[in-house]
Symmetry: C2
Subunit: 394 residues, 2 copies
């Protein structure tokens, strides 16, 4: 017999990066439930309940609302791949890594991509998006509501209004916003919106909830050629998610158990309460970081509550600090992507991870590690400022 | 507060369909483990261990051996999408539903598809495959080793030899064969092989192990245009699975916990022992079905041990019997797909589902339900024949 690996025994991390977030024990236990078949009536009921709860969380009445059998990127690509046909003009708002990814994917699916660029860390001026829409007949505009690479929240409403004026479909990435800050698909008038099972919903990564408006559904049905990617073809998937129950793929049963439990937890807490909790934790974290002398990366006025970005103080080693935070304190935060690599930290307050204790643990650990690297910071200042913010919010 | 759904409380099914199979309690418990980040060194180690164990199970030394972040169909499409460029000639061996799916996907990715058809329930004559290869310069031949819709095992070796003679890459579907019957990627000389986390590996559905030969890797690197589907682009994925650890998607952490534990169980039992167990269970099931007067669907000489197909006796209602089997006896088997719908039953003996008790439970339940529908069958004959087969094997 070959050498085997030992029992699974990972360290117990406090996950404060941009995802995955921590899962509630009820979600973890749900996944230990024995399997059902993907066409079992008991499983079909779980699918229906999941769709219903997803609609409430997305704040939509869209019939086509279900999780894609892949991670958030699968949902992103499903929205683009199903709506774009070769030669279509697509406007993409780019102010971070995931805006870049939208451009990459849209181009792969044959779109003529018109970019609306702004520096990382800033929100795009809706007038710039409208100007891009005005330059040619546009099939769709794609934008990231919550840019995971920068911590910027891009307001959807003014861009949605511009899309309506120019007859363009609107695709919105809510990967880092869903169930952490208001996402209102129907009120926005968005046509295709995707998110993920991790982060705000606090389930493990692996599913990507998507929702398509009636208008988007009609565009998919009117395609000249089938979507090239069979796995992401929502016209096939929709037939499994409706009473026809046509076999497409074998659903990831256990991930659905997790998602159903995660959605129950979100709705038990209540969407508004969850947004408020995220906001409270985020304010306390920000107060703590600022008291420790750290400056923010994302522009004031467009900062996400679910993801805080801070500039790494001059002279501090990103790699050393994050390594010590992980190996000594069991806390995960993330560094920057692309042009922000080595320059910023990204701290997520997502779902179950967004607790008062986690904010305080992070601030105290960060303080001791910054001191070790010679950064000047008054002892206890970060934690004290956060505690004060919590008291003010109570 | 809106009405919420109750706790997850599914019935305890005995899963004897073509998948998902039942998961070992150790796999279920592994999934209740708190999450790690997808770039945590502890998680990267889990990835490396998983790759190593997957290579052993596929019997390959291919460096590019990792699970795609989707179900088996995602692996199928990844193999085709990455190797096919528009205009490539692709030969597909079609003797069932999944052969048809290969044709559909290959055509979507721009291939000129040449089909080698044979009736469902039969294996293809390798000479017919070779004749198709001889008709034009062929980029690749795709075939299904274990056709889940018919229960046919298509021998790979002679077709692999024909591919070598004609300079075509060989893509093999081992979704229903891996870890149930010999799959020997390197000995076959196959270039791209995919499977799934469920069925033989007995983990929940949601991951699709794939393996690419050096030759296939070179073909992917030499592509003129990137793969249209970003999510399935193995040249990007490979950079996450190698020391570069380039971020692509957020890995489905919990599914990896499951797969690692499932692979440990396979290697603890031993591949040969697992194949023998599947064979023993399958023979006993077949003996039982035949003693009850049921005839087989797949041709003798090309029958899979992991999936048994039986013709539904005249006068018996497929829907009524399977519904009673599920709701009264908690046993799932599957009906036929496509032209076999309503005509056959498909009984899986996959991974943890393939036990002596499950074979006997199914045969006894089937006997009572067939009797209820008026089918003639000597009482106890099925169970007795299966017991005899078990004794003979012991």
């Amino acid at each position: 017999m070959d050498t085997l690996y030992g029992e699974l025994n990972p360290p117990a991390r406090i996950l404060l990066g941009p995802g995955p977030s921590m899962a509630h024990p009820r979600v973890l236990r749900a996944m230990a439930t024995p399997l059902l078949g993907h066409l079992d009536p008991a499983f079909l009921q779980i699918m229906d309940e999941t769709m219903d709860m997803l609609r409430r969380v997305f704040q939509t009445e869209n019939a086509m609302t279900f999780p894609m059998p892949g991670t958030g990127s699968a949902g992103m690509e499903a929205c683009l791949a199903n709506l774009i046909e070769p030669g279509d003009r697509v406007v993409v708002v780019v102010n971070g890594y995931f805006g870049e990814r939208l451009c990459d994917m849209a181009a792969r699916h044959g779109a003529e991509v018109a970019r609306v660029d702004v520096a990382w860390g800033q929100a795009v001026d809706p007038a710039a998006a409208e100007a891009a829409l005005a330059k040619g007949r546009t099939k769709l505009l794609a934008m990231v509501h919550a840019e995971t690479s920068t911590g910027v929240c891009q307001p959807v409403e003014p861009i949605a209004a511009a899309c309506r004026r120019h007859g363009a479909l609107l695709v919105v990435d809510t990967v880092t916003s869903l169930a952490t800050t208001p996402v209102a698909v129907d009120a926005w008038g968005a046509d295709a919106v995707y998110s993920c099972s991790q982060k705000g919903l606090s389930c493990p990564p692996g599913l990507s909830p998507v929702t398509f408006s009636e208008r988007a559904g009609a565009v998919v049905r009117a395609r000249k050629a089938p979507v090239q990617c069979w796995y992401l073809d929502v016209s096939l998937l929709a037939r499994y998610w409706t009473p026809e129950r046509l076999y497409h793929h074998t659903a990831p049963i256990t991930m659905f158990y997790a998602l159903r439990e995660g959605l129950r937890l979100v709705l038990e807490e209540g969407l508004e309460a969850r947004w408020r909790r995220t906001e409270t934790m985020s304010r306390a974290l920000a107060a703590g970081l600022e008291a420790m002398g750290l400056t923010r990366y994302a522009d004031a006025g467009c900062r996400l509550p679910s993801l805080t970005t801070a500039n790494i103080p001059h002279g501090v080693s990103d790699a050393d600090l994050r390594k010590a935070l992980l190996t000594e304190f069991n806390i995960e935060i993330a560094g920057g992507l692309g042009p922000a690599k080595g320059k910023i930290w990204r701290i997520g307050l997502l779902g179950e991870s967004a607790t008062r204790a986690n904010v305080l643990l992070l601030l105290s650990a960060l303080e001791s590690l910054l001191a070790r690297q010679g950064a000047r910071c008054a002892p206890g200042a970060g934690v004290a400022a956060a505690q004060q913010a919590f008291s003010a919010a109570a």
